[in-house]
Amino acid sequence: MLVKLLSADLPRSRLLAAILVAIFLGLLFAPFLFSGARPLNTAATICIYIVLVASYDLLLGYTGIVSFAHTMFYGIGAYGIGIALASVEEPTWGIALAGLGLALVLTVLLALLIGLFALRVRAIFYAMITLAVASSFALLASQLSDFTGGEDGRTFSVPELLSPGFTLMESEVFGRAVDGKLITYYVVFFGALLLFLFLLRLVNSPFGRVLQAIRENEFRAEALGYRTVVYRVWANVLAALVAALAGALMALWLRYVGPKTTLGFEVMTDILLIVVIGGMGTMYGAVVGATLFILAQNYLKELMGHASEALAGVPMLAAALHPDRWLLWLGVLFILSIYFFPVGIVGKLRLRSYLKR
């Protein structure tokens, strides 16, 4: 059963399995393990980032395509739900689903268009074109303020079941009121889990094997009779769709969409950092990487703040340890990990247990 759920792609390392189980249980029981809004927010962000990064890994790690348009699709999903719900007085599920549906159609069309247009040429070309398209899209979203709310974005209310004021039952469960926030968290959690298992299934299917073959040697894959362009375009479309769904989950959770949180280039660099540090070409890399990254983003900054205060006398070092400079250290880690362990954390763990055997 479990093997089937994981599509026979087991962690293959005891330590990795333990880490994954810990992350899974931690996310599953997050509302009951921790109190307060911040840990729950962190947990929901981790869930969504796992899906977002895993879908990016389908492109970068499995197919060997570098795309900078992933945040664009993420943003389209988020804006789809956001604009639909913000445009009505009384939010209903129908409206939300209609918005999501439109967003998904737009996603497929754009992904197909960009894919057919740019995937026929070399990888580097695709990276540049997606960068250009995505940044123009972000600019457009922040300028069309009548429609998207501009730089400020849009806040909206969600269907009653998910709104914070809603309570399902009077009594508390394990010391936690069953309110809309809790239900939203579980919608996010199970939505993310489903999408992740889908991606896992996808990469372990014959389709996924062809993608890996393209990554390893495109010429050979083509010689074997696979039309590599078609496979790459499909990989692009599927990754974009999953990213859009992740964006929709994010919009539901935050009850807000804005260019900074969904379309910004910072989000794109975050995704890149997570994929590489977690491990390219393994879906579990996304889980480990996203968890570490989001935890670091939320809690390492405080630690750095303390360190910076302690070193206030040393001019450069204090500035370098300022909480806002945490990307500096992650960037260094990113470069070092590309040089010295390009397989990432998960690849390293798997390699270790493989060599031990």
Binding site: A132, S136, T269, L328, Y339
Partner: protein, 358 residues
Amino acid sequence: MTTSTRVPAAQENPDAGTAPPHPVSLPPADTPLPAARRDILPLLLVPAVALAVLPFVSLPSWVTLTVAGLAMGMMMFIMASGLTLVFGLMSVLNFGHGAFISVGAYTATLVLLPMRSWLEMDSLAANLGVLGLAVTVAMVVTALIGWAFERIVIMPVYGQHLKQILITMGGMIVSEQLINVIWGAEQIALPLPASLRGAIFLGDAAIEKFRLLAVVVGLLVFAAMFLVLNRTRIGLLIRAGVENGEMVEAMGYRIRRLFVGVFAAGSALAGLGGVMWGMYKETLVAHMGSEVMVLVFIIVIIGGLGSVGGCFIGALLMALVTNYASFLAPKFGLVSNIVLMIAILLWRPAGLYVKGRQ
């Protein structure tokens, strides 16, 4: 030509057993060497675009817009030329090129801010002197950083495109953060020198002085690059390297040394462009380079990866189209460069000019 000479040659000795079966006929000695076909269609695009807009705007605003577009295009060209040259020669696409733009602009403040009083003087010579000093310092620093960047960051990943993209992205993130560490996270104001402020009037058309300077500098850089590439030995080697690097290496030239030289020169150009762009914007932020990079990439794609001439035309074209479009239809101006890129790629899928092995 060759077939017509071959046929009579074969008929002259049809039964001579000692003659080779396919006699080789040489063209006459005064036949010119085969040259690449001149391709002037893209060259005509820039004036065509400029003239096509003329009926829709009044003449003074057309002049202003065109000069502004040319100035922006020249600055873009300065920033993009290094990138496209590096790509053509080493097949390395440096996503961290934007970092050199930012570093160049920030380094210039090391000269410009302490010598601010010189900038406030109302003498063109003093202003330009300080500016020249700042540009020199910025170019030297970015060239040195480029040299180190090539040795430390890019050398281990030659030939691996995926890793190059990731590594250079990482390099850009780190250098932006380092700029914040060194110069602080607040944006820095960079006022224009006194004699370059304001505009001169040609009839009713206002032309900002700094834009004229940008056009002049851009033309100088283009002319210098053109001369170096086409009239010097180094340029010959670079062009040969773009066509076929292995052959240059086989001839006994140290192509690695050429690589690092071109990389340093490209970085210095990015630094120069960064100073110009910073003065144009009059404020500096650490991510100014990565913002411009989007436009630079579009230019490099339009021009054809690796082609300096294409890059020049692409830069002018994009800047003009953006300027005209945002004047005529502001909302469309935002996406005009994407539309331009798509249109060009539909016409010529690999960009205006294709260089080297594609």
